[in-house]
């Protein structure tokens, strides 16, 4: 037994130049490559990669074709950290939107982005989650409390407000920029 160790010791002392010091992709990088190559985008969604070599930072554009937000175009930024998939990516909405679950700074309240994230989830799961937010805004857990209250008490007014905001205009004292397609 001891001889094996001494053999190994000799080896360690004399050969530092191992075969090729090729940098290896991290586990997070391997996983995101897989996630990205297997994206199965609904036809309402588009991805934009500012740098095709950087699979960790990208944008998602959602153009809902039904529901309150039909006709609008909403952009989300994704930042995938080295802790992926142990930690979820950071997602922000870059389009100002009148929505119960998205605040005016672009923070998004989607359970799988924070408290319910699991490593088995993928970028695709988040995309479906975000798309669902536009089809079924959830007034129960609001980030934009005003919008949520309107949705709960007066669906018609909410619909009008969404339309107004997407065309570009004021809802109360907040100005929304036009985001129609």
């Amino acid at each position: 037994m001891i001889k094996l160790f001494s053999l190994k010791q000799q080896k360690k002392d004399e050969v530092p130049g191992r075969a090729g010091n090729q940098k290896k992709a991290s586990a997070a990088q391997l996983r995101i490559t897989k996630d990205i190559n297997e994206l199965n985008l609904p036809k309402t969604c588009q991805m934009e990669f500012p740098d095709p070599d950087d699979l960790l930072n990208f944008k998602l554009i959602i153009s809902p074709d039904e529901g309150f937000y039909r006709g609008g175009k909403f952009s989300f930024s994704f930042k995938v950290g080295p802790g992926y998939p142990h930690e979820p990516p950071k997602v922000k909405c870059e389009t100002q939107v009148y929505h119960p679950n998205i605040d005016l700074e672009g923070n998004v309240c989607l359970n799988i982005l924070r408290e319910d994230w699991k490593p088995v989830l993928t970028i695709n799961s988040i995309i479906y989650g975000l798309q669902y937010l536009f089809l079924e805004p959830n007034p129960e857990d609001p980030l934009n409390k005003e919008a949520a209250e309107v949705l709960q008490t007066n669906r018609r007014l909410f619909e009008t407000n969404v339309q107004k905001s997407m065309r570009g205009g004021y809802i109360g004292s907040v100005f929304f920029e036009r985001c129609l397609k």
Partner: protein, 464 residues
């Protein structure tokens, strides 16, 4: 520095190493050479010089290990002093690795600890392949995953197949514990397996595991075992706070990016008292609005930095178990921990040891890199063709890693914006794409649960 041993210093080690016994491993051969190996040759890397690191260094050095190297990127904070006993008040602000190494070298005769005040990522395969055993006392999952990935990347395979000796290792491994160390020593002879002993603590809980890269469950295999980071729902933080933590998260996540109190794009620095004071005051205001008690400066710092109180006794137990495993691995004097021990001293003392299973589709250790043989003038499209025919892939995406370790996308068919910009690569030759012999290609395809690693074997002359 004392340069002499006291009389009978190795008396107890000799009892263990120079006699056989019913509890010794069947493969163990009593010999006086083992002690010399531990003293003179065995090179150990201690990763982290914090709560566990201080204990580990002390334990290993007193046990007789001399070629100890320690790496830590951190400096000493006053809050470390209660348990990181190699540091004194005058050391606050100095690098942990250097102060710890000096202390051990001064205090323990013939100890030779080499410090590295650096990030683990600053060193490459040449550095890590120089150790017999790596032992980690880390508080970061990212760092664990990195070390794990590094040690797995040191495994050598022959022509895309497991080294023949390694296949027999694995067969033996699956049969009986008796063979484990035979297999293990075999692999050691092959030289590519570096055992990783990983300790971790969180308050009154801890764990120790022994990882033989490529042979048993690795960090990535059991990634789901790490407790998830506690994240509160954003809507609760924004509108229905109930806990002091909710108020602190409100200040950190919503107020900070809005108000940028220390200038645009200035991120929160958990070690900057001004930043923490700002968070604390904002959180306190909010807590008062909602009648929530318990927001303190310390809690604010704790939440911002994700601090989990460290308990000195838990660290001591976990580090002792790690050091013992290092000793067993280095000397073969007893069967090693197989392979995951949990420890809990919240209420009484509880331990449980079990063999964590390998994940068949682990992204890190189930990968046996396959070789791809091509002429350097072959075009990327030929490689893609090969992947579709030989490996029956449907629409493979291929990336590689450059010298700086950054990703480079060669071709990714499924995302139109990337496809358009990488399409010209298909017509380029591997030489034009600056792919060298031995380059790592990462191939992702729906037909496999993970991205697959290939090694490019290039030749300049066409073989017949």
């Amino acid at each position: 520095m004392s340069t002499t041993n006291w009389n009978g210093r190795w008396f107890h080690l000799r009892k263990v190493l120079e006699r056989g016994g019913p509890l010794a491993h069947p493969d163990f051969q009593a010999s006086n050479e083992t002690l010399n190996f531990l003293l003179d040759n065995c090179k150990i890397l201690v990763v982290g010089a914090g709560g566990l690191g201080c204990e580990l260094l002390k334990n290993l050095a007193l046990m007789g290990f001399r070629q100890i190297h320690v790496i830590d990127m951190d400096t000493i904070d006053v809050s470390n002093l209660n348990r990181q006993f190699l540091f004194r008040h005058v050391d606050v602000g100095k690098p942990k690795a250097e102060v710890a190494a000096n202390f051990i070298n001064e205090r323990i005769p013939l100890a030779n600890v080499t410090p590295y005040y650096a990030k683990i990522q600053d060193y490459d395969q040449d550095f890590y392949s120089g150790f017999h055993i790596v032992v980690c006392g880390l508080d970061s999952i990212i760092a664990r995953r990195w070390i794990n990935g590094m040690l797995i990347s040191l495994l050598t395979y022959e022509e895309g197949e497991l080294d023949p000796s390694r296949i027999s290792c694995q067969q033996m491994y699956s049969h009986a514990d008796h063979f484990v160390l035979t297999a293990f020593s075999f692999a050691l002879l092959c030289g590519s397996i570096i055992p990783l002993v990983d300790g971790g603590t969180e308050g009154f809980k801890g764990n120790v595991r022994v990882i033989l890269p490529g042979m048993n469950a690795c960090i990535e295999c059991t990634l789901d075992l790490f407790p998830p980071q506690i994240n509160f729902p954003l809507c609760t933080i924004a509108h229905t706070p109930r806990l002091p933590e909710h108020c602190i998260e409100y200040a950190r996540l919503l107020q900070w990016p809005k108000e940028n109190p220390f200038g645009e794009e200035v991120a929160i620095d958990g070690d900057d008292p001004n930043h923490i004071s700002w968070i604390y005051e904002k959180a306190l205001q909010r807590a008062n609005e909602y009648g929530i008690l318990g927001v303190t400066y310390r809690l604010a710092q704790g939440v911002v930095k994700h601090i989990i109180p460290a308990v000195a006794s838990t660290n001591a137990v976990v580090a002792a178990a790690c050091a013992l495993e290092v000793f067993k691995l280095a000397s073969t004097c007893a069967p090693k921990l197989d392979n995951y021990m949990v420890f809990n001293d919240t209420d009484g003392i509880y331990t449980y040891t079990y063999a964590a299973e390998r994940n068949e589709s682990c992204v890190a250790c189930s990968q046996i890199p396959k070789d791809l043989f091509f002429h350097e003038n072959a075009r990327l499209s030929e490689v893609m063709e090969h992947l579709s025919t030989t490996y029956q892939m449907k629409s493979p995406g291929v990336t590689t890693t450059d010298k700086q370790g950054r990703n480079r996308t060669l071709y990714l068919p499924n995302v139109s914006s990337i496809e358009e910009r990488t399409r010209p690569n298909l017509k380029k030759t591997l030489k034009e794409l600056e792919l060298k012999d031995g380059a790592q290609l990462i191939v992702a395809d729906v037909t496999s649960p993970n991205a697959i690693e290939f090694h490019l074997k290039l030749h300049a002359q066409m073989d017949t």
